[in-house]
Symmetry: C2
Subunit: 430 residues, 2 copies
């Protein structure tokens, strides 16, 4: 096996190597930039990247000595998240070249922890459904998923160790699953959202992309000041609920096969496994999510609608118009249903450690015009539950197919430890 | 009685007068600007006001003909809320002259409804505890309260009909109570927060200042697209729970007297009245609120802390340091307690229509260095419950003393209708 480049190491390995003096932050950043240089024409993951600026950051970290737990790791930032030193374009001509005054909370905390902000990653227009130019690094004819398209693709292609995405329906887990990496959406409101452009405020969640569960954990720990997860002992298998979800009929054979294979092998590995069926009242969550999405997007975009409507894609204009016409009473009903289901959800675990569900309905579809179906991710987003996709399987076309694990709200470290256990048992997709 | 100036009319009267062609939007705006001109040296409510810009907006509305339900009313915007055409200074030298690209959601929706954005109102530093220069328009030796100091003062002084504030502890209701107006904090998440500078994300709520309950209702209806409240029939008095709160010993004689007088007179008016005592577990909410506030403020301000620390007040630096040292586990515990109490709160009403509580612990204190004690507002903010202060009483020093009514979450129109009923019965403070 050829020696791994510094860009290919995990964030855990990079931060250890920098701390031990085996290489410098600048070495790491240069390796990432070389990968970007080699591959960006094909992948198109970056909305903004300035090699000199990245190297300057890395050099400053080397000069400063020990900083925080991310020292030397590189981070890509979805282009709806504010950065003080780079433009934030929102995937929209309306914001082309826009320069916020301050970093978003998550970016500022990353820098304080010693990360190099490598650049801004391509987002769908306002974190919605209209894609940018990014392709799937595993097959350039296929979508990387969205709306955190560039973040998923850049991490998968080893251009960067870590990246920020945001998820309003499935915008972190879907690109992660399509690109064959780990994608994590924490419990709602546990990563601070100051400085992101809201899509739908009651749903938007900052999520993390990485190539290992330990990297996700390192990143989340650095952003919250918590300790890293404890490992789940190899001989205490987690109890797993099998949730085919109300939209199981949308799952393609590849996704069904991955789910059933994971369930069978985890059962063989000693995991207590049983079916987990959501109460019927949860059937309304998909419609409720659409209502929250439409109404909140309409309210967020009042300025752009009034003053820059021609700069909005026709698809987004349709969503906004629909939101503007939705009665406020329907909005309140959707909020109340979502809140009620959230309150009931934790109790439904009833002895289970995690819930297993499909990550997405299929492999990444061919074509760059559509980022895929968010149904299998949106349910858990609406529930504000922590969720992670693991790249465990391969589909009929040789592309990765993920499985999704969902935990109890606020018990994110437990979910990550269980996810690590599961991924170790099942192994990676290739 | 002298004829009222257009600036002194209610927003309901102004919008009706404009719609009926009795006066123009420009007439109204000029009347407000004349009041600002006459009084701003004393009150100091404005962080930014440009008369020409306001008149241009009004002229455009006159030229455009019918727009929306706020047509012709003037609105002041707390200076932590983004405006595309005016600077947004955050009450901090770090943001002096800063120009966002877009309006905040609430500002954009106000403009779309026909309001004139008169200017930006003085805020405490980052909507916290360090005051700007605003004085109480009723007594310039006293604080107007904060952190929405300029919004409360400008509405009370008839410089503007309506204003936006934000409340993280008591920043809308306290200035409203101290200045003798109506202040309303809706159910959390029902006025979209896109485009405000977060103080503490899980608490921050956009609130409204006006001089009548009907104006509050008009404003909230315009921002959400809901209909206006139905009037509560005069002969069906609301059932009222008397909540002296766990911090009753902090209430000064003036606040206690207002509360007891209101309770007695509402009982005489036929309201079913009974004591309402919060469960003991709610005692932890004040400490939980402080934890949420400190941790979230720390996370929001990562950029300013790293790059502009000298621009932060010493008081704010202390809060941020405390937040940075708070364990994440304590933060999660505070989130969970708050959420549990919210879920229990609606059931506790048990036949009550509204809960009566003190608005603040006393009249506005003398001095401009301290904006007063937020304890009596912070409890309800943490509970995400809709709350309104009504200017019903006078204190020992001749300053206004409010009473607070709290409703069920998501039943804001019902709260407003009950508040209107109560204010009609009790009458205004002078």
């Amino acid at each position: 096996m050829a020696q791994q480049g510094l860009n290919e190491l995990s964030a855990v390995e990079v931060t250890r190597g920098v701390a031990a003096g085996r290489f410098t932050c600048e070495d790491v950043t240069r390796a990432c930039l070389a990968r970007v240089e080699a591959r960006e024409d094909t992948v198109g993951a970056w909305a903004h990247i300035d090699p000199d600026q990245a190297i300057t950051q890395a050099g400053a970290l080397d000069a400063a000595g020990p900083t925080g737990p991310l020292r030397g790791a590189t981070v890509g930032v979805k282009d709806i998240i504010d950065t003080f030193d780079m433009p934030t374009g929102m995937g929209s001509p309306i914001y082309d070249g826009w320069r916020p005054l301050a970093d978003a909370s998550c970016v500022g905390l990353s820098r304080a922890a010693g990360a190099v902000i490598l650049g801004k990653t391509v987002t769908c227009e306002f974190a919605g459904r209209t894609p940018g130019r990014t392709s799937n690094p595993l097959d350039a004819t296929r979508t990387p998923g969205g709306s955190s398209s560039g973040s998923g693709a850049a991490v998968a292609d080893c251009m960067v160790h870590l990246a920020f995405g945001t998820q309003t329906a499935g915008s972190v887990l879907r690109p992660s699953a399509y690109c064959g990496i780990v994608g994590y959406k924490p419990t709602f409101n546990t990563l601070n959202r100051a400085g992101i452009k809201f899509a739908a405020e009651s749903l938007d969640t900052i999520g993390l992309h990485a190539r290992t569960v330990a990297d996700i954990d390192l990143f989340a720990a650095a952003l919250t000041g918590r300790g890293t997860m404890g490992a789940r002992p190899a001989d205490t298998p987690p109890a797993i609920g099998l949730c085919r979800t109300p939209m199981w009929d949308k799952a393609a054979p590849s996704s069904r096969a991955a789910f059933e294979d994971a369930a069978a092998r985890l059962g063989q590995a000693g995991c207590p496994v049983r079916d987990f069926i959501l109460p019927e009242s949860f059937d309304g969550l998909e419609a409720a999510r659409n209502t929250l999405n439409d109404v909140e997007r309409w309210r967020v975009m009042a300025h752009e609608w009034a003053r820059a409507r021609d700069g909005l894609s026709p698809e987004l204009q349709i969503i906004l118009e629909r939101g503007g016409k939705t009665p406020h009473a329907d909005y309140l009903t959707a909020l109340a249903l979502a809140e009620d289901c959230r309150a009931r959800m934790t109790g439904l675990f009833d002895g289970l450690d995690v819930i297993l569900a499909p990550s997405a309905n299929d492999e990444a579809p061919v074509g760059l015009d559509w980022t895929g179906d968010p149904a299998f991710q949106g349910l858990w987003t609406t529930l504000h539950a922590p969720a992670i996709t693991l790249p465990t399987h391969q589909g009929a076309n040789g592309m990765p197919v993920g499985i999704q694990l969902i935990g109890r709200r606020y018990e994110d470290t437990r979910l990550l430890a269980d996810a690590d256990w599961v991924l170790n048992r099942l192994g990676a997709w290739r």
